[in-house]
């Protein structure tokens, strides 16, 4: 770029020398009407153009244009004709023509078309000016006096070269740091030139098409930009998250971005379960009250509408599309012949498959991004010079931007300081090992405690729950909650021993609390399995009872009339089998609700109430509440992230048995987003050490993947090994739930299909296939490892190259300085000796210096 500076200055030099000759030429051109004269002139100009090079032509065109403008105003008609001729012969610059044409009265069509062609070639050049020109210019086809025949081939060549130079000039004009006046003048001249002579070169076809194309391109670019804007505006909660990010830093914002991403996933899951399971059953299945399984039993009817019962998801809520038990096991429902059981099963499998796919795809994408975009070479410089967004005009946005810039600087400073921390490695390692040992002890202790408590509660259940105190009845829940409250704090204290970078410390903290919460999961699943077994035992008893009851019914009617049809009994009175699936679904729903309530109440009390107290009690308290003990709370990223992940695990586990779970979760996440955004901005203060979250978020994804795996295991186990209840749900009557697939294959597909399928599921085929996949995975893994290593090598090379360049440049700069010094000394000496030769020396030295500057810049580029 600076070379262009030099070039511009150089161009200024020949300009002065050519003024007089240019003036003559211009005036001659304007007055002469003979084409021969103009062509001769044109040739001269062409030669001149070649002599002085493209750099000179612009200067000449400048002068020419100025003269033209002056004359234009005097002789409009003459100018029209002459311009016409001149256009064809000179092909002057576009900007020059524009100004000229602006003064003219007539607009020449051909000129406009030629210009449009030029505009096509000069892509970035003055499009607004083009339109202006189009408006201003007049065209005159009759005055098209092109004389290609008059020019010899060499002259045509030269003409072509000149025209090309002009076009290049027009294209590069935007990038020149000249004042606007100069740019406009030059542009007009060059445009004139190009138009006049491009017509002469016979490129007069397709102008209208070209103009149309240009218009369409403009419109398309505008449309694309508007669409991008629209897409960005559609991202939900973007402004909220940006505001939080500017005040609290990227780690807190990463939690909210994660929350938004989860919301997206849950929306899809909701769409699947709602659209393919709940809606068909509601619209096309048998209505409420038509079957025993769809009706509230007579015994419960009185209390079915109570709020307490509904809150517990009993009563009418239990006997609705919200839970597994409501669904009928009819193979097809409605006039669409919708396969309800098949759909139920496939949706259950599909939600899990979709979740796996999304999590793994996001992990892969994040892994890619983190590798590539990590250019740290000019971190601080870029922050300083490119962080302010000049588009901001709103005071509040500007405040946010200032806060975000400050936070970003603080983050970068922290990173820098961490890099320079140089401690005693051995002490640090010993402390870290000690800390991990302490944490392991903690986890082992809590694991044993949980196990012990669960065993005790099982014993209590066998004894009968009424014999024990409230504490003993709710022991498990209480122990879990207490552990969940105190252990994370303990881990926090222990982690100060470790002295990690805050980001790494957060990851360790997350990992440890995760291990703690796994104990939670374990107790919950054990409790569930116990209840399921209980229900299944109950089933056998109930089955027996039902046969007895039916027998008694029929016995009664047979006595009256043997041929009478069986007495219709109201569905509410029929005795029911226990439905362990609905029970499982209810447990999950209750867990989610109580979890949500706990989170919100903790938020309101722990954060909001605390902030209110600190703020208002500070006026009448002995010590400074804001700086001292309670102070305002910081946003607990790790706790919230883990809560979100475990919550999602519950959803995945339970959505097979309670199709309403994704819907509930969508509502819950929606409310959480608004509540937590408000709470953060209102009650929390930024952390003291603001650190940049690792852009990838892969750590959260990895934990999510583990939870996904762990939570689908129990569901799969129950589907595969426990027979479904005989009296409720879409699979009632089958031996196993996945039998529905067999049934579909046999009845809905052509016979050859099931044959093919049975061949495909032959172990002899499946095992080699699995082996092949394992081999493929191994191969891909090794190639990716080698690519990563190559990447690291290349980065190192690049860095070394950069440093080499820096050193070379420094040396060259020093050398140039020394040369300059020498030149000055020799110049002074020479001056003393001989006056005449001084100038030469200086010129020589200066040119030498400029040479070395050029070389340096070229080498850098």
């Amino acid at each position: 770029m600076v070379e262009k500076f030099f070039q511009d200055h150089e161009r200024k030099m020949p300009r002065d020398s050519l003024i007089t000759s240019e003036n003559d030429k211009r005036s001659k051109r304007k007055r002469a009407k003979s084409k021969q004269e103009t062509s001769r002139r044109e040739n001269n100009e062409e030669e001149e153009a070649q002599l002085t090079g493209g750099k000179g032509t612009k200067a000449r065109k400048d002068i020419r244009n100025e003269k033209t403008r002056r004359m234009e105003k005097e002789e409009v008609r003459e100018v029209d004709e002459n311009i016409d001729e001149g256009k064809k012969k000179q092909g002057s610059t576009k900007k020059g023509e524009k100004k000229e044409d602006g003064g003219k009265q007539l607009v020449k069509e051909k000129a406009r078309d030629i210009k449009k062609k030029k505009h096509k070639k000069a892509e970035t050049s003055s499009e607004p000016e083009t339109s202006e020109e189009d408006d201003d210019e007049e065209e005159d086809n009759d005055k098209d006096v092109v004389r290609p025949e008059c020019l010899s081939p060499e002259e045509l060549e030269k003409l072509k070269e000149a025209v090309d130079e002009r076009k290049k000039l027009i294209q590069s004009l935007r990038g020149k740091p000249w004042p606007m006046k100069k740019k406009l003048v030059t542009l007009r001249e060059s445009q004139e030139f190009v138009e006049k002579y491009e017509g002469a070169l016979g490129k007069g076809k397709g102008r209208k098409l070209y103009a149309y194309k240009v218009l369409m391109t403009k419109k398309w670019m505008k449309f694309q930009r508007d669409f991008e804007n629209f897409k960005t505006a559609c991202i939900p909660w973007e402004m909220k998250i940006k505001e939080i990010e500017s005040h609290f830093g990227s780690s807190v914002a990463s939690y909210f971005i994660f929350l938004r991403w989860m919301y997206g996933i849950n929306m899809i899951l909701f769409g699947l379960t709602f659209g393919l399971v709940m809606v068909p059953e509601a619209l096309m299945g048998r209505p409420y009250g038509s079957m025993p399984r769809k009706t509230v039993p007579r015994a419960e009817e009185a209390s079915a509408m109570d709020f307490a019962v509904l809150w517990d998801f009993g009563g009418y809520a239990q006997y609705s599309v919200l839970f597994y038990g409501y669904y009928n096991n009819q193979r097809t429902v409605g006039w669409l012949k919708f396969r309800m059981p098949l759909s139920y099963f496939l949706v259950g499998v599909g939600t899990v498959a979709y979740s796996y796919m999304v999590v793994i795809r996001t992990m892969a994408r994040n892994a890619n991004e983190s590798g590539v975009g990590d250019d740290n070479s000019f971190n601080f410089s870029w922050k300083m010079f490119t962080s302010w967004d000049y588009l901001i005009g709103n005071a509040e946005t500007a405040d946010n931007k200032f806060a975000s810039i400050t936070t970003s600087f603080k983050e970068a400073i922290l990173e820098e300081q961490e890099n320079h921390k140089d401690d005693n490695i051995h002490l640090t390692r010993f402390l870290r090992v000690l800390a991990n040992f302490l944490v392991l002890c903690c986890l082992a202790g809590s694991g044993y405690l949980i196990y012990f408590v669960v065993r005790r509660s099982q014993k209590f259940a066998l004894d009968g729950l009424e014999n024990h105190t409230w504490w003993e009845r709710n022991e498990v829940n209480m122990v879990m909650s207490l552990l969940g409250m105190f252990c994370p704090m303990l881990f926090d204290v222990i982690s100060t021993l470790e002295n990690y970078h805050p980001r790494v410390a957060l990851q360790w903290q997350l990992g440890r609390i995760f291990a703690l919460f796994l104990g939670n999961l374990y107790t919950f699943i054990i409790a569930l399995m116990d209840e399921i077994n209980l229900k299944r035992k109950e089933e056998k008893v109930v089955k027996f009872n039902i046969t007895m009851w039916e027998a008694s019914l029929y016995n009664g009617t047979v006595l009256e009339n043997s041929t009478a049809p069986p007495v219709t009994i109201h569905p509410a009175d029929v005795p029911r089998g226990p439905c362990w699936e609905t029970m499982v679904g209810q447990e999950f729903v209750r867990l989610i609700i109580s979890d949500t309530m706990t989170t919100y109440i903790t938020l309101l009390i722990g954060d909001f109430l605390r902030a209110v107290l600190v703020r208002f009690l500070n006026y009448c308290w002995c010590w400074d509440l804001e700086a001292g003990f309670p102070s305002y709370s910081e946003f607990d990223v790790s706790g919230n992230v883990l809560g979100l992940i475990f919550n999602q695990g519950m959803i995945w586990m339970g959505s097979f048995y309670a199709p309403c779970l994704p819907a509930l979760n969508v509502i819950r996440l929606h409310v959480s987003m608004y509540l937590q955004c408000w709470a953060v901005m209102c009650c929390n203060v930024p952390q003291e050490r603001v650190f940049k979250a690792s852009g990838s978020n892969n750590f959260y994804m990895a934990m999510l993947l583990v939870i996904l795996f762990l939570s689908t295991l129990p569901a799969i186990y129950t589907i595969v090994s426990i027979p479904p209840s005989f009296d409720c749900g879409p699979f009632s009557g089958k031996n196993r739930m996945f039998d529905v697939i067999h049934e579909t294959l046999e009845s809905d597909f052509p016979p050859w299909f099931s044959k093919v399928f049975s061949y495909a599921s032959n172990p002899g085929l499946v095992l080699p296939f699995i082996l092949l996949m394992v081999l493929a995975i191994y191969y891909l893994q090794s190639t990716s490892k080698s690519y990563r290593e190559a990447n690291v090598e290349l980065k190192k090379k690049l860095q070394m190259q950069n440093e080499e360049n820096k050193r070379k440049n420094k040396r060259a700069a020093l050398k140039a300085q020394m040369d300059l010094e020498e030149a000055r000394k020799t110049a002074q000496e020479q001056q003393r000796n001989n006056n005449a030769s001084v100038q030469d020396q200086e010129v020589y030295c200066v040119s030498e210096l400029s040479d070395s500057w050029m070389k340096m810049r070229l080498s850098r580029k």
């Binding site: 300083m384 490119t386 588009l391």
Partner: protein, 138 residues
């Protein structure tokens, strides 16, 4: 005529002006260096700050804007002033010192402890979001 305010006091005008570099922008485009713009200079300013201006041109004018003492170099004082304007003086002096040191260390190629235009241009040409932040949409 209406209730729209047409005469603003200085404080009110201040509320509409968010860019911390507003004075420098105007000064670098004005011929007399005092902030008075003719129409051509005004057009020039918006042309450079528009989307269509090429990167090199923007780099030239960005250099001029950040050069507070107009000596064709970005020396430490220039950087300090830039940083203070950017963060509204929320950083401590040590932090400001650290950042300016780091910036010069990163971008200075010829070892004179200040950034010449060549250094600046070399650094800004690799910046990914220079074009998207250094523009004004009319």
């Amino acid at each position: 005529m209406g209730n729209k305010q047409t005469i603003f006091t200085d404080e009110q005008l201040d509320a509409y002006q968010e860019n911390p570099f507003r004075n420098r922008i105007v000064e670098s485009f004005s011929e007399d260096g005092m902030g008075n713009l003719s129409f051509n200079e005004f057009v020039d300013m918006f042309s450079v700050l528009s989307e269509m201006a090429p990167r090199e041109l923007k780099a030239i004018y960005a250099f001029k804007i950040y050069d507070f003492n107009v000596d064709n170099y970005l020396c430490k004082e220039d950087l300090e002033k830039t940083l203070n304007k950017l963060t509204k003086e929320e950083l401590t002096p040590e932090e400001v010192e650290l950042v300016c040191e780091k910036t010069i260390e990163e971008a200075d190629l010829d070892g004179d402890h200040k950034l010449s235009f060549a250094d600046f241009e070399n650094m800004i040409s690799r910046a990914p979001d220079f074009l998207s932040t250094f523009h004004i949409r009319i």
